[in-house]
């Protein structure tokens, strides 16, 4: 709001006049599809989708089978596809940002505009947070923080895109399913009524990657292992005395044993960090996806209602991404500070 005194007048301002009509048109389209709409509507009732915890496979046959590390059959799952999309997006954003910064240096106009500008603001906020917590180790810790936050943010926000979770192959259900309605050539939809036998349900092509426990556990293991690596970088091999503390075992009568026991508890807490990291992200986003499905099927006829839950999920996705990164950053900052070095650090 402070930039209203810009010298160059903007040719294309904020398109309030146009956007408003687009939103109104979408609302009317929704009413036309989902309700009777004075006898003209299609009156398609939204269905409650089939909810499955493990990711669905793209193909019947595995991509490859190997006994290496006990992998077994390796399927291309729909969450893996989403992960590839997220990776392409993150790498693309990185190149875009890099080019924008170089152009800004060439033109000697250091204020970035558009999405690179927003990315710069986000990264600057994250870096300030890192510097306030980690001090001189900020440059080591910040790449982990930023990479994890960006990846998880894009992965979480994918559930808001129409078509994710709702476009896919129609397969025959094992239990109750829904009837198939052909729309045009090659395209069909499943809709009410529910049929007890020979019904169908939808296997989406793309499913949000955070709703797959494999992704969240892998990310949590990466984060916790990186915490140990940074601890060793900062304190050398002495970092591990945090877990196996026998420095005071003989010199102090009882407290030495207690210190040693506390070290073992620290070791347990490292493993519980993996669990809590993984389940926090997975639980939030999976529950969010199910919430969107159920609210879409319950309140879908009241067109505006599900959008409120989309807004909720927008915030939940952002907060969970920030929390994952922030916790990684905090644990890393703690790992760089030894028990006995508090005095010399300050």
């Amino acid at each position: 709001m402070t930039k209203t005194t810009d010298v160059t007048p903007k040719k294309k301002g904020w398109r309030w006049g146009t956007n408003r009509w687009i939103v109104l048109g979408l609302i009317i389209l929704g009413l036309f599809l989902l309700t009777d709409f004075f006898g003209a509507g299609l009156n398609i009732k939204p269905i409650r989708p089939f909810v499955q915890l493990p990711a669905e496979h793209w193909s019947e046959h595995p991509l490859f089978s190997t006994s290496f590390l006990g992998i077994g059959d390796f399927y291309l799952t729909n969450t893996l596809v989403a992960l590839f999309i997220v990776m392409v997006l993150v790498i693309g954003l990185a190149f875009w940002f890099n080019r924008a910064v170089q152009n800004a240096f060439k033109k000697n106009d250091l204020a970035l505009k558009g999405i690179p500008g927003a990315l710069e603001a986000l990264l600057e906020g994250l870096f300030n947070m890192t510097q306030a917590t980690a001090g001189k180790w900020a440059w080591t810790i910040f790449p982990w923080f930023a990479a994890i936050t960006l990846t998880v943010l894009l992965a979480n926000w994918m559930e808001l895109i129409p078509g994710v979770d709702s476009i896919g192959v129609i397969e025959e259900a094992h239990g109750t399913g829904y009837a198939v309605q052909p729309l045009t050539a090659g395209i069909a939809t499943i809709a009410m009524p529910e049929v007890a036998e020979h019904g169908s349900h939808l296997i989406p092509y793309v499913r949000v990657v955070s709703t797959d426990l494999n992704f969240t556990v892998a990310l949590a293991i990466i984060a916790v292992v990186a915490v140990q690596v940074i601890g060793v970088q900062a304190q050398g091999i002495g970092y591990f005395t945090k877990f196996w503390n026998v420095k005071t075992f003989f010199s102090k009568p009882i407290f030495g044993v207690i210190d040693w026991g506390v070290g073992l508890l620290e070791l347990v807490s490292e493993f519980s960090k993996i669990l809590s990291f993984a389940f926090r992200l997975f639980g939030n986003i999976f529950a969010g996806s199910v919430l969107l499905f159920v609210m879409g099927s319950l309140l879908g006829s009241i067109v505006i209602m599900p959008s409120i839950f989309y807004m909720l999920e927008f915030f939940v996705g952002a907060i969970q991404a920030l929390v994952f990164g922030l916790l990684t950053m905090t644990f890393m900052a703690q790992a760089t500070q030894g028990h006995g070095e508090h005095e010399e650090a300050h």
Binding site: Q52, L53, G283, L326
Partner: protein, 79 residues
């Protein structure tokens, strides 16, 4: 009246598992109340307080998320 007693037990179990969310709700409320009071008294420290508040909420929320995961496992995986 007919139905599947295993299904009924699953639904009841999932509902019972979510009782654990009580503690997390109370905990998040306490964390936020303390943080808001602190921000009111010392508005300059809002940034630090907010970061720590989000961390505390994340830890308190983790318990509720464990309950949620158990409920989801009961509903969609077991049996």
């Amino acid at each position: 009246m007919e139905g599947n007693i295993v299904m009924a037990a699953k639904l009841i179990g999932a509902g019972l598992a979510m009782i654990g969310a009580i503690g997390a709700g109370a905990g998040i409320g306490i964390v936020t109340s303390g943080a808001v009071q602190a921000m009111g008294r010392n508005p300059d420290a809002t940034g630090t307080i907010q970061t720590n508040m989000i961390l505390g909420i994340a830890f308190a929320e983790a318990v509720a998320i464990y309950c949620l995961v158990v409920a989801l496992l009961i509903l969609f995986v077991v049996g």
